[in-house]
């Protein structure tokens, strides 16, 4: 008898040890992957010199941009707080909406997931309208209030498709393996994220080929310099909604593209400044940032899905539709908590793209002027308060970007 107990205890202890080892190995793999993704071509010992924003902008601009930024930041913060409150309420009461479904286990879960998104959209609508009002007041946006609401409503359809598919995968696996669905779902989500990044170029509306011969020539030259010859560039028509200039890099492999907003090419920025923007976006592509973002997303999703599985266990796990509102709350909370960390990652990648642009263009004066002009046209605060910087800024501040230009010049 004692021998049997001892064997059972030993076997239990062995299992626990095996799980612990597996956990340690998984954590190690996570850390190694994060380390690999964290690597940057920006010199590790680079010290950014101090730049006084008053040397770049007038006092009135600094004051006006601060008030502009602060209202948007506080509005966004208030929106997030309301979002959490609404989701807490939804997690507690959301399951009553199950009576509105005749769709079975997974279909009902999808409905609850979509309605959760819908309620969130409704709750955030006033904050969205305040942001539109503020941007219109400062001439940054042309978008009408009704158009803004309608755009949000229509784009809900796309979000509903995403959440439905995610819940289909998660709940189907949860039906098969109650506790370990997240381990099975994670590769599917990773594949989806990869596919979505690969196809993202086709999801961008109102694009046309880049016809400006000078910019097209710059794209060709800089792409060769940055080691990604043949990269295509397109122009996105956004001037009807905003005056803010922007550009982005999307896709990877054969679908990698450089997207320039037409507001960047409307004459407010000279050719040298546009070259810096092009160099920056090509820098993202040259350093595989689009793929790295997928990597970071996966690194976030795996533990997040595991935590969701743990949190919903008390409601019978994600196999049951009544657990969906709680899962939504937990997931959004994790997303909000991890946002400052993701901002750090994003700022690091942006800094690397800036560095890459400086190396490719060898034009620090243009880069410096670009950052100042970018701030002015977007009414951006060049040096926001630390709390707002931590919570919201996914790019280095204008002051940091100018400081990097100075640092690059100093190293030449």
């Amino acid at each position: 008898m004692d021998l049997a107990v001892s064997r059972s205890e030993r076997s239990g202890a062995g299992r626990r040890a095996a799980w612990a080892l597996l956990g340690v190995l998984a954590c190690l793999a996570w850390v190694l992957a994060a380390h690999a993704l964290w690597r940057s071509s920006v010199p590790s010992g680079l010290k950014l010199p101090h730049v006084d924003p008053r040397s770049l902008f007038s006092a009135s601009y600094l004051s006006s941009s601060r008030s502009y930024f602060l209202l948007l930041a506080i509005n966004s913060l208030a929106g997030k707080l309301v979002l959490i409150a609404v989701l807490v309420l939804y997690a507690r009461r959301g399951q009553v909406l199950m009576r509105e479904s005749a769709a079975g286990r997974i279909g009902t879960g999808m409905l609850l997931g979509m309605l959760g998104f819908a309620i969130v959209w409704l709750a955030e609508l006033p904050f969205q309208l305040i942001a539109v009002w503020w941007e219109r007041r400062h001439g940054v946006s042309h978008q009408g209030y009704v158009a803004s609401v309608l755009d949000g409503f229509v784009s809900l359809g796309g979000e509903f498709l995403y959440i439905s598919f995610a819940l289909l995968v998660a709940m189907a696996f949860a039906g098969l393996t109650r506790r370990w669905w997240w381990a099975l779902a994670a590769p599917v989500f990773a594949g989806l994220a990869l596919l979505s990044t690969f196809l993202s170029v086709y999801l961008i509306a109102n694009t046309k080929p880049l016809r400006n011969p000078a910019t097209a020539a710059d794209v060709r030259t800089l792409a060769r310099t940055e080691g990604i010859p043949g990269t295509k560039a397109e122009v996105q028509d956004v001037h009807r909604f905003t005056t803010a200039p922007n550009a982005e890099s999307v896709g990877f492999g054969p679908t990698k593209r450089l997207i320039l907003w037409d507001t960047l090419l409307d004459g407010r920025f000279n050719r040298r400044e546009v070259r810096v923007v092009v160099g920056h976006e090509l820098g993202h592509l040259a350093h595989h940032h689009t793929l790295k973002r997928v990597g970071w997303l996966i690194l976030f999703l795996i533990p997040a899905a595991a935590i969701v599985a743990l949190a919903t266990a008390r409601r019978g796990g994600l196999a049951r539709p009544e657990a969906v509102p709680l899962a939504l709350l937990v997931f959004v909370l994790l997303q909000l908590l991890s946002a400052p960390l993701m901002n750090i990652v994003s700022r690091r990648e942006e800094a690397e793209a800036d560095w890459s642009a400086l190396r490719a263009t060898h034009d620090p004066q243009a880069a410096r002027q670009l950052f100042v002009d970018l701030a002015r046209t977007s009414h951006d605060d060049p040096n926001p308060p630390t709390w707002a910087y931590v919570l919201f800024e996914d790019h280095p501040t204008i002051v940091q970007r100018v400081a990097m230009v100075d640092a690059w010049q100093a190293r030449r």
Partner: protein, 438 residues
């Protein structure tokens, strides 16, 4: 119970005279002239009636009588033109015409609704345009294209004309649908001309004095309780996006499956059980998605199209039965009239959906009439799909059926009897016991 002040009586026996049907549009020429004259006077009478009703709170007896006679005459004339009745109508609109109206005497009216009568009537005008109520009409689009709005009423007239010329009978379904659209149009005109302040009732089951209960291989059972969740109503369109995607994927498979079903049914004279099961699920799923999207039912539908999964508006499809090979061979051609009707019913359903969206969002309920009219439209769509996908060789039934509302569930599905020869029959031969009322 129908307590609307404008009611329909139907004493038509469905028999038609070939010669008068064939020449109907020409025979009615004197009526066109009389109608134009009467309409001219009625226009001024209507304006006067509006002013006096606004002032007195009630339509003066003599004006009410004149305008009621006008609405009655127009209904009788259009019943004749649309082959919904056979006898040549009288010019003074006497009682006793096979499709006739009874219009209640003048009663007190709410002055506020009198003042805003025209804007208030806009939703009913839209429904009437889709139904092809009295008059129909047309309008020019910005591109210069001219769009006819004869609606379902116009289609019943054309289809009825061909069948009546061929068979000397008007199919019951076509006649009933025509009568329903005429009544809705008459109620709309009565509302616009201040004969009543009761809004037109779109409930097809309340329109006709007697609604048949037919057995059919494809039936829709409505158990909806009219309750609507405001939250799901507000987001009904984006909530349907996953279903659109799934329906599109399913359709990609359903199209080759229906072709295979056609070939096998042509050879064997019966749809194979596996394909029948698959396509039945597809039809059930399609109808449940549209019922949800167009607010004719409330619950979010499932994705499998399983039998019994959507009781609010459930499509019942009978097991495979023998089918006429000639009908199978020419199914695509024979289905053209049904496709036209389905398209017209689809327009009606969309109008009801848009109007119903506002109503359900405000009240948390959908109006019974709109729901039942929507159920009729979806039942026709289900029967059309069943016919097109070779689940049955029974032609879709155009008129209202008791099963279109929850109070009267339809008879259980039965296997339709095979028909020996190819007959072009847009409607099944009417059951004599269900024929004319009165």
């Amino acid at each position: 119970m129908n307590d609307h002040p404008i009611r329909l009586s139907v004493s038509d026996d469905l028999r038609r005279t070939r010669i008068t049907v064939g020449l109907r549009l020409l025979l009615a020429i004197p009526h066109y002239i009389w109608l134009a004259l009467w309409s001219f006077v009625a226009f001024f009478a209507a304006v006067l009636n509006w002013l006096l009703t606004l002032l007195l709170g009630r339509s003066p007896g003599w004006l009410h009588h004149f305008l009621a006679a006008y609405v009655k005459y127009v209904t009788q004339l259009f019943a004749y033109l649309r082959i919904a009745a056979d006898p040549y109508p009288s010019f003074d609109a006497p009682d006793g015409y096979p499709i006739d109206l009874s219009i209640a005497p003048a009663a007190r009216q709410n002055r506020l609704t009198v003042l805003f009568r025209l804007p208030l009537a806009l939703p009913a005008i839209l429904i009437s345009a889709a139904l092809g109520g009295l008059g129909g009409g047309s309008f020019s689009g910005s591109s210069g294209t001219r769009i006819s709005s004869n609606g379902i009423g116009g289609l019943t007239a054309v289809a009825g004309w061909f069948v009546a010329v061929a068979q000397r009978r008007m199919p019951r379904g076509l006649r009933d649908m025509s009568a329903y659209s005429l009544l809705y149009g008459a109620q709309l005109w009565a509302y616009l001309l201040m004969l009543t302040d009761r809004y037109p009732n779109s409930d097809p089951l309340a329109a006709l004095p007697e609604v048949p209960n037919r057995e059919s291989a494809v039936q829709v059972r409505c158990e909806d309780d009219l309750h609507r969740s405001r939250l799901t109503v507000l987001f009904r369109l984006p909530l349907s996006f996953p279903h659109f995607l799934w329906l599109a994927l399913w359709s990609i498979v359903a199209i080759p499956a229906s072709i295979a079903n056609w070939l096998i049914t042509l050879v064997r004279g019966r749809s194979p059980a596996s394909l029948h099961r698959f396509l039945s699920a597809y039809v059930r799923y399609t109808i449940s998605v549209y019922a949800f999207l167009e607010l004719f039912a409330n619950p979010f539908p499932g994705f499998a199209g399983s039998p019994g999964a959507y009781p609010a508006l459930e499509t019942h499809i009978a097991p495979p039965a023998a089918q006429n090979r000639w009908k199978t061979l020419f199914r695509a051609i024979l289905a053209i009239p049904a496709l036209l009707f389905a398209s017209a019913f689809g327009s009606l359903a969309w109008i009801l959906a848009v109007l119903g969206w506002f109503s359900a969002l405000v009240r948390g309920r959908t109006p019974r009439g709109m729901r039942t009219a929507g159920a009729l439209a979806l039942r026709y769509a289900a029967q059309m799909l069943g016919y097109l996908l070779l689940l049955t060789d029974a032609y879709p039934y155009t008129g209202p059926l008791l099963g279109d509302g929850p109070e009267h569930p339809p008879a259980p599905p039965v296997e339709p009897e095979p028909e020996p020869a190819l007959v072009f029959a847009p409607e099944q031969t009417p059951d004599p016991s269900l024929a004319a009322n009165g």
